[in-house]
Amino acid sequence: MIPYQRHFLDNGLEVIIHEDHTSKIAVFNLLYKVGSRFEKTGKTGLAHFFEHLMFGSSANVPEFDRALERAGGSCNAFTSPDITNYYMTLPSSNLETAFWLESDRMLQLTLTEKTVETQRKVVIEEYKQRYLNQPYGDIWHHLRNLAFDVHPYRWPTIGENLADIEGYVHEDIWEFYKRHYHPGNAILVVAGNVNPKEVMNLAEKWFGPIPRGKVTNDIIPSEPVQRGRKEKVLERKVPTHALYKAFKMPARGQEGYLEADLISDLLGFGKSSILEKRLVRGGNDFASIGAYITGSVDPGLLVFSGKMSEGITASHAEASLNEVIQEFLSLEISENQLQKIKNQSEAMKSYESIQLLNRAMNLAYFAHLGNPDLYWEEFEKKSKIRPEQINNWANKLLQESQASVIHYQSIPS
C-alpha cells in the first residue's frame, strides 16, 4: 500500500499527497489528462510537441529549468497516447518553488516564437533519432496505422510524420493550451518529505486562484470492429527479419482487460514464458519473442513481437507462433503457471515502489483512471482471475480476424 490523502480544489484540481520522510527530497508530479488520442489528423504529435513548449517561459519565469535548478531541483516529462506527465525532484525545503513554477506555466505560458521554432527543430531531431535513424525505428508508425482505421491510436505520440510537426501554426498551439491545460484537467501528486497541511496551503495559494477551465467533451472517434486480418510487408535495411502481430483488446477498466494482461504475461513475459520456451529455447525460428499489451484508456493492442533467427522468414515464423497460440487456446492453464504470474505482479509492486518518483507517478496515473486505489484494486482483481476465465478470453481475443500483422523484412544494406 502507498498511504495517501486526496483533495480537490474548487477549480477542479485534484491534489494527492504521499508522505515519506526517509529522505529530504520531494517529488512534484503534475499529470494532464491529455495525450495523442486527443489529436486530429494533420496535427498529429501536438500533445508531445506541447510538452516541449511547457519548458519555455511563462509570465513570471524566463526559463523554467534555470529557476528550478537554482533551487536544487531537476525535472522531466513524458507524453503517452493518453496522458502528459510532468515531474520534478527537489529538496523538500524548496517545495514552494515547484508550486510557483508549475502554477505559472499552467496559468500563463508565454509561447514565444523563439521557443516554438527551436523546439520544432529539437522535436524533428528527436523524431529522426528515435524513429528514422534506428533499426526497426518506424515499426510503431506502421503497426498503429495498420491496426487502427479511425482512432487516433493510429499514430504514435511523436506524430504521424515530419510534415505535421513542421506544420503547426500559432493558433493550433494556443487552442491546445486553452483546451487541455487547466486545473480541472490535471492531477497533482506531491510526495516525499512533506507536510500534508502545508502542501494543501501551498496548493490553495498557487493553484487556487487559477480559473476553472472549460471542460470540453472531446469526441474521440471510436474504432469500428475489425473485419478480417490485416497484413503489411515492409522491406528495410535491418539486421534480421522481424514479426509483429497485434490483436485488438479491451480498454483499461473494461471486462477482459486484465485477462488480456495475464495472457500476454503467460505467453510472453520472462525466460520461462510459453513463447520463449517453445520458440526461442525449444525451437530454431526465433532469436527473441515477447508479448505485451499497450495498456491504453481506449481499446488497445495485445502485441507479439519477435526477431527471426538467421535465414528464417517472417511468414514461416508466424506459422510457428500461430501453432503455439493455438495450443495455448486448447490447453488448460495450470494453477502453478497462474501463481507464477501473480507472484511476479506482487514482487513488481515491491520493486517499483523503491523509488519515490514511481510511487508518485502511479498515484497520479491511477487517479487519472478514476481513483488512486485502482492501483491495488486492479492487482487484487487480477489475483482472483481463474484459469478458465483466461482461457475464455484468450479464445475470444486471439482470433485471426482481429490481427494486424507486419512482416518486417531485412534487405541487404
Binding site: 531537476s74 535513424n133 526477431k307 515491491s350
Partner: protein
Amino acid sequence: MLLDRSKAPEFVIPGDFDISNPTEFHTSNGIKVFLFSTPLLEAVKIEVICKSSKLHLPLSKFQVPSFTLQLLTEGTQRFSEEELSEFFDFHASEVHPFSGFSQEGINLLTTKKHLNSVLPVFLSLFIEAIFPEEKIQKKKALRKIGLKMEREKNASRASMLFRNCLFGSQHPYGQETLESHLDEVNREDLLDYYQTKLWNKAEIFVSGDFNSEEILKLMEELSAIPKVDLESKIAEYSIEGIESCQEEKPDSVQTSIRLGNWSIPKNHPDYIPLTVFNTVLGGYFGSRLIKNIREDKGHTYGIFSSLGEIDDHNYWVISADVQKQFRQEVLEEIDKEIRLLCEVPLDEDELELVRNYLIGQMLGKFSNAFDLVDRFKAVHFSGEDFSFYQRQLEFFRKFNSSDILEIGKKYFSKEKFIEVLVG
C-alpha cells in the same frame, strides 16, 4: 491579498546530511561483504562483483568471460535451463549476469518473502554450471544478431569507435568484437574460465532488511561462493590511440558524434573540480552545450558530456546525435564552448545556479536504499568510500570561477581532441 507571482519563493541551500558507510562482513572463506540495511523494504538485492580475468586470456578469446557468465543459468548439475528459468520466474526473482571490460559478476534481485527458497539455487550457479553445448551454440547465434544490430546503430558504433581511438584497435579495451571472436568460443574454454578464473577477487554488496540473526545466516550461506585470487596481470598491451575516425553512412539522417580525451581518476585531487567543470559544460540541462546546441540552435535532441572509466583508464566524452548537415557547425560550437570555459570566468549568476543545482542533486542521489549501493560502488573501486561525497559536497559549497578556469587550462586547452563521427 492578491498573490504576487512575480516574486519567486524563497529557497534554501540544503545543509549537510549523514550517509553512513555500509557494514562490512566477511564470509567464512574470506570474501568481503558490504551490507546496506534497508528498514521495511521488501526487496533484496545481492550483487557479486569480481575483477575480470580477461587480461589472462589471448585477445581473440575476450568473449569467453561474457559467455561463461551468460551460460551460468543455462543448466547446472541439478537443474536444466528450463527448470532454472521456471524456478526464478516463479519466485519473481531476477538473475542478471554482467560482463564489463574490467568487472564481471552476477546479481540477484528478489524479495524477502522468496529469498530463502531462491538463495540456495542462486548460489549453486557458482559451482554447478555445466555449459551444455547446444546452449552455447544458441547463445552464439543470438549474439551474432546482437552484433549486427550494434553495427547498425550509429550511437553504439560511435561509442565503440571512440574506445578504438582511445586505446587502439589491438588493445583489449579498444578492439571491436567480431563474428570470428564468437566463433572461437568453445566449451573447454568456458569450463576452464569457470573453474579457474571466474569469481576473481569477488566482493559482495547486499541490500535488504535483515536482523542480526538473519545476517549471520546469510554470511554463512554466501560462503558457498568460491574464493579466487589471481595475481594481477600487468597490462602487456600498449596503448596506441588514433586521433579521429569517421564513418559515412549515406542513408543516415543524423550523425553520431563522440568527442573526448583521456582524463584523471577519482582519487586525483583535481577530480572533484573536474566533475563541476563537466557539469557546466554538458552535465545537466542548464549546461553550455544543451543551451547552445539544443535550446538555441535546435541541432540535436540531446547532447551531454560525461566522465568515464575502464579499469584504471579514465576519459571524458561528449556525445550527441545531430542534424547531419550541421555536424561541422556543432563540432565548432563544442570547441568554442570548451574554449570559453577555459578562458572566461563564470559569472556570479551561473556560479550560483550550478552550485545550488549540484548541492540539491546530491540529496536526490542518496534518496533510496538502492541508490546508496550504486553510489558506494561508483567510488569503492577507486579506493574511496562515502567520504568522497562529503568532500564533493564541501567543494560544491565553496568553489569559485577560478577553480573552473584552472581545470580548463590544465585538461581542456589542447588543440585537438579525439573525434568520432558516424552517419
